[in-house]
């Protein structure tokens, strides 16, 4: 084996204002190695790969490529060296074909026909089913990722960086991705694999480097290291096992969708078709599915941001409210935690106190049209204390909180308003492990008090650990829910990929 690392970083540092995003990072990736970069949100993973890919410049430290010191001025320079990167958020034009999109990325004067032939050859060589002539908006998220990977492969990379690639994939698609990455590694290509999902790192990676607060806190062979040990390295303390809360038997239907249909509101949206759903008080129902299969539309229809054609399409504690708006439904006990925190769940420029009012305008926080700031401040302080939100105080602007702390505040606020139904969208997306556990515990506690909790998430591990029942949303259709104990991640994965008939058969 070649002893020269493909990529060697030493002493990489990068400062953003008062935060040291990277603090003296050393990292070596060997040829043909699948190397995991592991860490919580904000640990400095993104900054580090942006430095490797030339998007940002380090303040200090050196980069050696195959034993030779290099300065990577921009992504073009990175690609010239043989570094390819697949971002978490794709950069594809929906109205263009696959070949046109790839041609844009390459920038060279190759004819579209010649490029299409090259795409087809490379795709078949790696078993990636992609038709170069298809328009991107017809492709599923998994297919789009394949286009991004193909774009990298056409440049014969010697280091491929994958940023949380499985967050948008069904389990089956993820397994196919692993096969591809293993094959690339066998051909000598190095892979830098960023993730915080320990199970897939164990299954895939040869080596793992763990980051915490901008520093390397350890390295290990994930194939032989216990996941708990890696998690401890990652968050810096032992993880407490979640306590199972005893919950009462599910009560009366709290939120019902009755043949709920909703047309798409933009050309690339998804229409909801005859969605039926019964959420009972005291249960946690999970809705799985790959993003873009109607989650946004379902949430809008349930919360009242978009109105259905008939009132009885949505029942809130028996009250037909399909044509009622969000404020009316909230008055009847519906609370919601949206996917985006700043700009939707909270207003970045306002203080936590003022943000506490966002969904509390009908309660005791106002009288005669005037805001009762004293009560509001006490309420905000109560949420901060109960959910251990790290903030300068109730007067801190929402923008000053980290994503996880803001999410804890928003969930705490919604719980604090005493809802009868809570709808949470991606409640722990981008949240660190500690905050995620606190959020899951809060949702379980809430259900234990008889509140119906609906969770929409792409993270199957999350749904399986928190929910009682799981239904799958695919292409605007919702499958019948099954008990978590009676199904498996694989079965749900097939439904997510639209293979519901195969499961039923």
């Amino acid at each position: 084996m070649d002893p020269t690392p493909r990529l060697a970083l030493s002493g990489i540092a990068k400062r953003y204002g008062p935060t040291l995003a990277n603090d003296g990072i050393d990292l070596a990736v060997m040829p043909g190695e699948i190397h995991a970069l592991l860490g919580e949100n904000g640990a400095g993973k993104s900054t580090l790969v942006k430095i490797i890919y030339g998007v940002v410049q380090p303040d200090a430290g050196t980069i050696a490529w195959e034993g030779r010191a290099v300065a990577i001025a921009d992504p073009n320079a990175a690609r010239a060296l043989g570094i390819g990167m697949v971002f978490q958020h794709f950069s594809l034009f929906e109205t263009l074909t696959v070949a046109e999109n790839i041609s844009l990325g390459l920038g060279a004067g190759e004819s579209l026909a010649a490029l299409s032939a090259r795409i087809a050859t490379t795709a078949s060589r790696y078993g990636l089913a992609v038709d170069p002539a298809r328009h991107v908006h017809h492709l599923s998220v998994g297919e789009r990722q394949r286009v991004e990977i193909l774009r990298c492969l056409l440049q014969q990379p010697r280091l491929l960086i994958m940023d949380e690639p499985t967050s948008v994939l069904t389990p089956q698609e993820a397994e196919a991705l692993f096969v591809l990455l293993r094959r690339l590694a066998a051909e000598g290509c190095s892979v830098l694999y960023i993730s915080h999902k320990l199970a897939e790192i164990q299954a895939l990676c040869h080596r793992a480097t763990v980051l915490r607060a901008g520093r390397v806190v350890g390295a290990c062979d994930p194939r032989v290291t216990a996941p708990a040990a890696m998690a401890e390295l990652m968050i810096g303390r032992a993880l407490a096992a979640p306590a199972r809360v005893d919950r009462p038997a599910p009560g009366a239907p709290a939120l019902v969708a009755n043949r709920l249909s909703l047309p798409q509101d933009d050309p690339f949206g998804t229409a909801l078709v005859d969605v039926n759903l019964v959420l009972r008080g005291g249960e946690i129902l999970g809705i799985a599915g790959v993003a873009g299969n109607g989650q946004k539309e379902l949430l809008a229809a349930l919360t009242g941001e978009r109105r259905a054609a008939q009132d009885d399409a949505v029942l809130l504690n028996g009250w037909p409210c399909g044509r009622q708006g969000a404020a009316a439904r909230r008055r009847r006990g519906l609370a919601a935690v949206p996917e985006e925190r700043l700009g939707r769940g909270a207003v970045a420029e306002l203080s936590l106190t003022e943000n506490a009012l966002l969904t509390g305008t009908d309660g005791a926080m106002a009288q005669g049209g005037f805001i009762r700031f004293g009560r509001l401040r006490r309420f905000a302080r109560g949420v901060i204390d109960a959910f251990r939100v790290v903030a300068a105080g109730p007067e801190a602007p929402a923008a000053s909180l980290s994503g996880g702390n803001m999410q804890k505040f928003i969930i705490g606020r919604e719980v604090g308003h005493g809802p009868r139904v809570l709808i949470a969208s991606h409640p722990t997306w981008g949240v660190d492990v500690g905050a995620a556990m606190a959020i899951h515990a809060a949702l379980r506690d809430l259900a234990a008090t008889g509140v119906g909790v609906l969770i929409v998430s792409e993270d199957l591990d999350e749904l399986f650990s928190v929910c009682d029942r799981i239904a799958v949303l695919h292409a605007g259709h919702l499958s019948a829910p099954t008990n978590v104990a009676a199904t498996s991640i694989d079965a749900v994965g097939l439904l997510m990929g639209g293979m519901g008939d195969a499961v039923a058969a």
Partner: protein, 356 residues
Amino acid sequence: MRLRLERRPALSHLWALLAPLLAVALAAAGAALLFAVLGRDPLVCLYTLFLAPLADANGWSELALKATPLLLCAIGIAVGVRANVWNIGAEGQFTIGAIAGGWVALAIGPGGGWYVLPLVLLAGIAGGAAWGGIAAFLRTRFNAHEILVTLMLSYVAVQLLGWLVRGPMQDPEGFNFPQSPQFAAAAMLPVLFEGSRVTVAALFALAAVPLAALLLGRTLAGYRLRVVGLAPGAARYAGFSEAAAVWTCLLLSGGLAGLAGVAEVTGPIGQLTPSISPGYGFAAIIVAFLGRLSPVGMLFASLLMGLLYLGAEALQIGQQLPLAAAGVIQGMVLLFLLGADVLTLYRVRLAGRAHA
């Protein structure tokens, strides 16, 4: 080499407050330069512009007279901007307010009792609000942006006034001058001090300051407007109606501008004429931003802009400078303010290396 703007990591509240003062100082320097180029003594001109108008009590009352419509219009504009509703047609609502109030005053004629003035004022408020309401309707129904609609409706209003005072509302005994008859005494606003021209409208403007502060800072209605302006997504999530915000802001700012308009014609002017406003509605936009959209800030800004109007008149008389000098200086204040704001939010970096 090229210049690049980088967002500052932390905002300086001190600089946000100093920016308007800096802008005024720079505009004064720019004005001095302009005076020198025009062959006048800059120091004498600056004295004439900023200090001479305030040399006596009459000057101060004239200042209050000019600041009143500016402040009324600016408060409405600022409440709108907080909700991301841009009413830049206060000039038109001002004009329609004057027309509506004037029409009621002329219709009642010389008779009538104490109720005449309130009726006239309410008609002015309603007229301005209706003019703003047209823009609100077009925005909420057809998504026509209020910036364009309110601006264009201003010209419609001014032309309408010009036609009315040469046609249906012209004074039959006015020797064919383009003006309406004088309003009856019962329709006129009382003056504050004997011998001055400043009316009780100045008190309305002063009262609007704490009321606006209360609305924005303490009430649910103001909170909803701010959320709609800051984060439309959060407003939809919370169930705050954007259409309601558009209607509220345009009716409110239109009504305040209409009040300013009717107060002008039932105060110092006393009748309808083709030119009832030296651009108060447009200058009020500068007042709103110079005052940082804060009611108290706008109080001071309106006094400053009022002073510019007075000073420009003094320059015209004392230094034979055209009245347009006031417009140039107003423009410089706004330009320097916008520049200072950019530098408060961003810092300029020299990017030495061009990107491939």
